[in-house]
Symmetry: C2
Subunit: 137 residues, 2 copies
DNA sequence: ATTCTACTTGCAAATAAATTGCAAGTAGAA
DNA sequence: TTCTACTTGCAATTTATTTGCAAGTAGAAT
């Protein structure tokens, strides 16, 4: 359980109501959320503030952005959870977490083979498929 | 070298000037392109047509969508190239391909552990880091 | 070659996503 | 309590993507 105020202060953020609220919304979520969903989860935080806060949290390493080939980005807390990724149903959009992404060797090999890259900081990995329900239809 | 007309016919597409043009643009590219870039590469194809064509090509398995945490999607031809992914410089946006994504075991394990997924159809994997140039700054 | 029609396209318009500018508000240091 | 750099909301933009529709055409059927 992360103490929100501490998490914010530790990264040099002022502790404000919108930030605490957004953090709380993300912490309760069990799947990555869109900007709109995060906004809905708060009481009256402006959309722009959600954008700015999520971007700041992302820069600070508090949050990760998840792209699932929708028209918009999703975000989820990084803290607390270990490196994990998602299986997504291409039909009904259901999302499940999965772990076991052993990307270090892949990243190191990619870096070695690469012509002009110096370091790898993060990675994204998502699986797209069909859930049991949608697969039968 | 893919024969464009055949590639289109084989998938049930009519062979039209915009489609051939878009296909050619993608074929010349050495990195995934945005809708705007594809449009610029053609002579007068409408933006909407680019959207619709890329989506159709994607559905047909001719093209893959690449999300690099920008505000928009990128697209590249699938045909001809083997399964590959990208290293992206978070600073200057440079993109390099890399191969060696051995995702089958990861996907199979994720599927086995999963509660409600039946099959995996595709995957995305991107590495984010710094190129040699940007790393020194 | 001509006809026919379902598939395509461009254009306008709408909707959605993300960014920017700025004045008013405030957390936290002093 | 004061002060100020950091935050926020609101309006306005910009950029991304989708939708509706009438006009155009590729390719199948004469
Ligand atoms: Mn997750
Ligand atoms: Mn590529
Ligand atoms: Zn499903
Ligand atoms: Zn760079």
């Amino acid at each position: 359980m992360i103490v929100i105020a501490d998490a914010l202060k530790k990264r040099g953020f002022r502790v404000t109501a919108p930030r605490v609220s957004i953090f709380n919304v993300l912490q309760k979520a069990s799947y990555p959320m869109s900007v709109q969903e995060v906004k809905m989860g708060t009481k009256g935080v402006d959309t722009v503030t959600v954008y700015r806060t999520l971007e700041a949290f992302k820069q600070a390493g508090l949050v990760v952005q998840v792209d699932l080939q929708r028209g918009h980005a999703l975000y989820e807390l990084k803290e607390g959870k270990s490196d994990h990724h998602h299986i997504v149903c291409m039909s009904c959009k259901k999302i499940e977490d999965f772990t076991g992404c052993d990307y270090q060797p892949i990243a190191q090999q990619a870096l070695k083979k690469s012509k002009g890259f110096a370091k790898i900081i993060s990675h994204s990995l998502e699986l797209f498929g069909l859930c049991a329900l949608c697969a039968t239809k």
